[in-house]
């Protein structure tokens, strides 16, 4: 659907796309990445946020990074999106060596790798309409004219389930619910036709009743657009619904990895078991232990 749309309706987009549908999308390869922070002040010490993590996101794959606060999930996401440089190790996306990118290269990289943030209340400028927010990446990265960008905004809003798009485009963030805002954030991330989306806890600030909708949207986008997805969460149910591979992080190290379903049904590591037990589902609370 996306490929057609880009080719037929947005003639500008094709030229601007370096890794367009014709070029095969390369995998993202993270090799032995470590990030340490030195703390200052009275108690000087070195904190290892991410410790020797390797992973590969194949085109179209969805991988979950799971762990409690402080396990290094977000630091790893920041390194992958190029906003934090690793202390050791390398991150490669095709020919691109992410850790050595500078301004121009980083810009092109950001067109291909977009991020969805945790807090939909903080991720949108409260003074800008939905249309402005979503049209910026269309104009900046794809070089669309204002009129073409507007058409694209409407399509994107429809894709993320904000219909009628004309009505939502004119709204300001405070006129939207948390779930609707998160859909706008997702539309903005999709705007520049990225190959990989890094979603950092996209549903943890939302009501349970709205989570299901966002999770289904992510799963559908992946299927329809062939997007790769790196899904960072502590919500194991979300990981199960959206991804097929899972990495469990504890204190910066990968303690368990494998097929999502298999890992959740047969957890080996003590920490994974602890995470599973902490999940508050009404069913887990009342029923006997489900099959392990």
């Amino acid at each position: 659907m996306t490929a057609d749309l880009t080719a037929s309706q947005n003639p500008f987009a094709d030229g601007a796309r370096a890794g367009g549908p014709s070029t095969p999308v390369p995998p993202l390869v993270v090799a032995g990445v470590t990030k340490t922070y030195a703390t200052r002040g009275r108690h000087k010490s070195v904190v290892t946020a991410v410790d020797d993590v390797s992973l590969t996101v194949a085109p179209g794959a969805a991988i979950a990074l799971v762990g409690a606060s402080g396990s290094g999930k977000s630091t790893l996401a920041k390194m992958i999106t190029g906003s934090v440089r690793p202390t050791r190790g390398s991150i490669r996306f095709g020919d691109t060596c992410v850790e050595s990118l500078r301004a121009g290269g980083l810009r092109e990289y950001h067109r291909r790798v977009q991020m969805v943030f945790q807090d939909p209340y903080g991720a949108l400028n409260p003074l800008h309409t939905v249309e402005y927010t979503v049209s910026r990446p269309c104009q900046n990265f794809l070089g669309l004219s204002a009129a073409a960008a507007r058409d694209r905004v409407y399509e994107l809003l429809e894709t993320v389930g904000l219909t009628p798009p004309q009505q939502f485009a004119a709204k300001l963030p405070h006129q939207l619910s948390g779930g609707q805002r998160q859909r706008v954030v997702i539309a903005r991330a999709l705007a520049c036709e990225p190959d990989l989306i890094v979603a950092d806890e996209p549903v943890s600030m939302l009501d349970v009743s709205m989570r299901a909708g966002i999770l289904r949207l992510l799963a559908r986008l992946r299927e329809e657009r062939g997007l790769s997805l790196l899904y960072i969460t502590h919500d194991l149910l979300g990981a199960r619904v959206v991804t097929d591979e899972i990495l469990v992080l504890n204190q910066g190290r990968v303690v368990e990895r494998g097929q999502t379903k298999h890992v959740l049904q047969h957890p080996q590591d003590e920490y994974t078991i602890k995470l599973l037990e902490a999940v508050a589902t009404p069913y887990a609370a009342k029923e006997s232990q489900p099959p392990r």
Partner: protein, 332 residues
């Protein structure tokens, strides 16, 4: 006698002249001494507003409009000034959602405790630094924090620790009712589980009455004795927590339950609730859930259902009540 008995509570927000939002509509509720009750619903359903109303914490533009809140036999809905403060001293307390924002960033934790003890001191009470420190330390101990935390500032504590400090502060004056307003929403799963467990243990030991407000039915069912489900400013269901899963229940509760699944299950079907809650600034005709309800009939769109007996509790649903009564007649 019930510890708290509220009748006909209405809360209205008046953000602008002429604009009135009915956030809590005609709510009756009773809290027995020592009960642990959950209050569940989506954002904007009025659950926090109700919690604030019961503890008289509402600030403009919100205000109580009619209704009686009898706390221990005395109507607190109309109390103001010193008598209200006296009731607060050992009556009721509230734990706010974000421990981070509820604490003063430029004061250490010891100051927070001292502030409460001094503000509510009785005549001749010993308020020397040593005594205050000891009382603070023992409160921190009850929420599994080290006494050393007294010398720390809020920014030096983790989210879970800050939330524990907030709970310890609420416990300081040994209240008989504590309202916990989304105490774990900002925390990650493992810390959330530990904090809820602490609350549950404290409640069992000190036998205060607790109201746990949360949008997460999983958390609430796990911890409480009784759960009330709120929708669009109304309590639509009131059931013992142990019975809620077995049903029958309100279609809204059912939809909420459909949002959960066990991540370990073989196949997963995640429900969601289509549509959005009604605009509470407009008058509501009929059942406010009718527009999103799969069972809705003509009567649902015209007549607002009352809470009636359903299963082992109460629910406000025309269709479910009729089904339940029909079944009861067949098998009395």
């Amino acid at each position: 006698m019930a510890l708290l008995e509220a009748k006909g509570v209405n809360v209205v927000y008046e953000p602008n002249r002429g604009q009135r939002i009915w956030s809590v509509r005609d709510v009756d509720l009773t809290l027995e001494q020592g009960e642990f009750v959950g209050l569940v619903g989506e954002s904007g359903c009025g659950k926090s507003t109700l919690g604030f109303a019961l503890t008289r914490m509402l600030r403009p533009p919100a205000h109580l409009e009619g209704g009686v809140i009898a706390f221990d036999g005395q109507d607190i809905a109309t109390l103001e000034g010193e008598p209200l403060r006296r009731q607060r001293r050992n009556g009721f307390a509230i734990v706010l959602q974000s421990g981070m924002n509820a604490l003063n960033p430029v004061r250490d934790i010891a100051h927070h405790f001292a502030d409460i003890f001094k503000a509510h001191a009785r005549d001749g009470e010993d308020l020397t630094a040593r005594v205050l420190r000891g009382r603070g330390a023992s409160l921190l101990e009850s929420v599994q924090l080290d006494a050393e935390v007294l010398t720390r500032f809020p920014h030096e504590l983790s989210g879970g620790m800050r939330q524990r400090v907030s709970i310890a502060l609420a416990l300081a004056l040994k209240p008989r009712l504590i309202v916990f307003d989304e105490p774990t929403t900002a925390l990650d799963v493992i810390v959330q589980g530990a904090v809820i467990k602490t609350i549950k243990n404290l409640q069992a030991e000190n036998s205060f009455t607790a109201v746990l407000i949360s949008h997460d039915l999983g958390v609430v069912l796990d911890a409480t004795d009784r759960v009330m489900v709120m929708y669009a400013g109304r309590i639509v269901e009131d059931q013992p927590s142990s019975e809620l899963l077995s049903g029958p229940h309100h279609p809204y509760t059912e939809a909420l339950l459909g949002c959960y699944a066990d991540p370990r299950a073989e196949d997963i079907h995640l429900g969601g609730i289509a549509g959005s809650p009604p605009d509470l600034s407009l008058p509501q005709a009929g059942c406010s859930f009718a527009a999103r309800c799969s069972l809705a009939e003509d009567v649902c769109r015209t007549v607002d259902p009352e809470l009636t007996v359903l299963g082992s509790g109460m629910a406000a649903c025309h269709v479910r009540a009729r089904e339940f009564n029909a079944e009861r007649k067949v098998r009395p």
